[in-house]
Amino acid sequence: MYTQAMDVPNADDAPSVAAPANEAEAAAHFDARCAAGEYVEAKDWMPDNYRKTLIRQISQHAHSEIVGMLPEGNWISRAPSLKRKTILLAKVQDEGGHGLYLYAAAETLGVSRDELLTALHTGRAKYSSIFNYPTPTWADIGVIGWLVDGAAIMNQVPLCRCSYGPYARAMVRICREESFHQRQGFDSLQTMMQGTDAQRAMVQDAVNRWWWPVLMMFGPHDKDSQHSETSTKWGIKRISNDELRQKFVDATVEQAKVLGVGLPDPALTWNAERGHHDFGAIDWTEFWNVVNGHGPCNRERLAAKVKAHDDGAWVREAALAFSAKQAARAAA
């Protein structure tokens, strides 16, 4: 997954307050540590804004992993073969695992799991907009692996060096597993491309629908990015949105050639002078629409997530009651 929403602030984020004198000293010391590339650990002193920024970023990231299970889970029961079904099951299970690594990392900053989930379920917290797009065909599952997870990897590899230790360590685990996600996606698409005309057309249609939303995953242009400056200073963000997006486009053009699909951008051309591919303008109106709740599946995704949580409430309560009873018996 999926770190685009990082740059989307929460409405209830309080404006930063100037630190008192002794805190100013601590803050300067903290900044120096970050500048020296040191890691910050959970119980270390940290500025309120650093803590808040990380809670927002890590929890948005966690929510994205969890909501990201929905569009793919949609196809588990309809995968075209047992092989593809077991692969997809493993992948969706990984997404759940990634969400859990990240929730655990966010909790080290002093926020509870319940608070994080409540923020998601009430719509206060964001998750990556990419999951507000539908998966109407089997080719969508391959394209999610190839392009969505491919974009996620670009975003996530630099986070393995994030200044906050628990987040960096979670990202190392995630990146190790994410490569399987991208490769199984490419493999699935490659199989379809060697099939019938109808199968090739299905892959092309999916690529056409996902290409632009995937480019949006890298977040707004650097000049419009709200959190970038302090995030860079604190070693939370290491490479800018535009730089990552460019890297992704350059890598993907070659992969698309191997696959034999076109990318739906007439402006996409090699620029020898820059040594990069130029590409067309991104429709930021669509991006902000989806971020603000008006994408094709926003309501459906959130409703499914809330329902799963509510339906599981009795299980959580029963397990807790059982554990209390066992403990009481052991004490007696």
């Binding site: 650990e41 119980k43 270390d44 002193w45 493993a90 299970q93 990984d94 695992g97 859990l100 690594y101 655990a104 990392a105 909790e107 509870s112 799991r113 319940d114 608070e115 360590r169 979670a170 685990r173 597993e177 959580r316 309560e317 397990a319 807790l320 059982f322 554990s323 066992q326 403990a327």
Partner: protein, 94 residues
């Protein structure tokens, strides 16, 4: 909030011969479920042969604020390191 399952820290031995190493945490109502959750979350690709789970509220940790005072006594005892001793060339490999 009070209904939240308690937090457990997870330690995994990657293979025989290595130490258990902290790798993250899980929420679970009891030790049995904590072990199962830790297995599902942290060892999906044979990352471990043994798991310890410990209630997070049972761990006693040193205070990072006291780090300098707490670990300071070790700093000026360089004679505890082998490199402190200059030996003749012929035996310097010991």
């Amino acid at each position: 909030m009070s209904n939240e399952w308690p937090l457990w820290e997870v330690f995994i031995r990657a293979k025989a011969g290595l130490d258990h190493k902290h790798c993250g945490s899980v929420h679970a109502p009891d030790a049995t479920m904590a072990l199962q959750a830790a297995r599902d979350v942290y060892t999906r690709r044979q990352e471990g042969v043994s798991i310890w789970v410990v209630r997070a509220d049972q761990i006693v940790a040193s205070d990072p604020g006291d780090k300098h005072e707490f670990f300071d006594p070790m700093q000026d005892k360089i004679y505890r390191h082998p490199t402190f001793y200059q030996l003749p060339e012929e035996v310097n490999h010991i």
